[in-house]
């Protein structure tokens, strides 16, 4: 359960995507620990039904988010946080994106339109990202260039196939993201 005693550095990468796109499966597949969840409160604007004045109120709800861990060397640990891509979670994005190396955006090629709010958040919070196109069982692999076009991505943004149920494929998508981060330093 504990980190290796010499681990002194921690970094994080966000795994983001629309609801049901495979974030939980991805983290479960790649994490060295049984994935855990954090529970945290978010405030949302709402209109009280019984409130005659109909003034918008803020209500608090709790959201549970998955994360996983990867010890990368004697002294370095990487945490991977599954991050929901809806606008109403933007409060959490503020903190999650701070200090993050980057984001892996998982998309479902059959539901690409659902990725726009996610990409909007990623760009708004200034995260460098790569796209992992999930391959769902029973579907044919989707041409990656079509995904790039449909999402209107910058030419240098990596787009890779990523079967979230396959550890090698999932890891390769992370590696692609880190290589992209490196290339931006050159």
């Amino acid at each position: 359960m504990y980190l290796d005693p010499d681990v002194v550095r921690s970094v994080k990468i966000l795994v983001v995507g629309a609801f049901g796109v495979g974030k939980t499966t991805y983290i479960g597949n790649i994490s060295e620990i049984e994935p855990l969840q954090t529970e945290e409160e978010i405030t949302e604007a709402s209109v009280g039904v019984d409130d005659l004045s109909r003034t918008p109120e803020k209500t608090t709800t709790t959201v549970a988010m998955d994360f996983g861990r990867l010890t990368l060397s004697d002294e370095l640990v990487l945490y991977i946080f599954g991050t929901p891509g809806q606008e109403r979670f933007k409060e959490m994005w503020e903190e999650l994106s701070r200090g993050a190396l980057g984001a892996l955006v998982i998309v479902d090629p059959q539901r690409l339109d659902e990725s726009f709010p996610v990409l909007d958040l990623v760009e708004r919070f200034g995260l460098t990202y790569a796209i992992g196109v999930n391959h769902f069982e029973g579907t044919t692999a989707y041409p990656l260039e079509e995904v790039r076009e449909a999402l209107n991505l910058p030419a240098d943004t990596p787009v890779v196939g990523c079967d979230v149920r396959d550890q090698r494929s999932a890891a390769q998508a992370l590696i692609t993201l880190v290589q992209h981060l490196q290339s931006l330093l050159d």
Binding site: K23, V63, A64, Y79, Q182
Partner: protein, 131 residues
């Protein structure tokens, strides 16, 4: 086929309401800023025999016990204790103030000078997954 998407249950989106009166657990303390106990900050217990150690709330004691023998991230502390992240941060602030835990801040955002850090991350991923 709508079934295709059911493979991925996302418990992260379960919305529930808080059942615990948190102000009791935290003695009414305000939230520390989230920068103070970032979820990747690493926490371990310090050997303390101070009076503070004997008057901890059960929740604070649970945190001390959890990290008694090594480092865990703030996120893992929240995950294992099932306490909301905000509450964990408040309790960690109390515990750090009392000298009962040590908190190690995460590496700040990778700057252009962090070529070495990215290199370490990449090497680690490659060796871990044989890629």
């Amino acid at each position: 086929m709508p079934d295709e998407h059911d493979q991925d249950e996302e418990p992260e989106l379960e919305l529930t309401s808080a059942l615990v009166p948190f102000f009791v657990i935290t003695n009414g303390r305000a939230l520390p800023s989230d920068q103070q106990y970032e979820r990747t900050a690493l926490v371990t217990a310090l050997k303390g025999t101070s009076a503070a150690a004997r008057t901890l709330s059960p929740e604070a004691q649970a945190i001390v016990d959890l990290v008694a023998h090594g480092f865990l991230s703030v996120a893992e502390v929240a995950g294992h204790t099932h306490l909301p992240l905000g509450i964990v941060r408040i309790l960690l602030a109390q515990l750090e103030e009392s000298g009962l835990v040590l908190v190690r801040k995460p590496v700040p955002r990778a700057e252009p000078t962090d070529r070495e850090l990215l290199g370490d991350v990449l090497a680690g991923l490659k060796s871990k997954f044989g890629a």
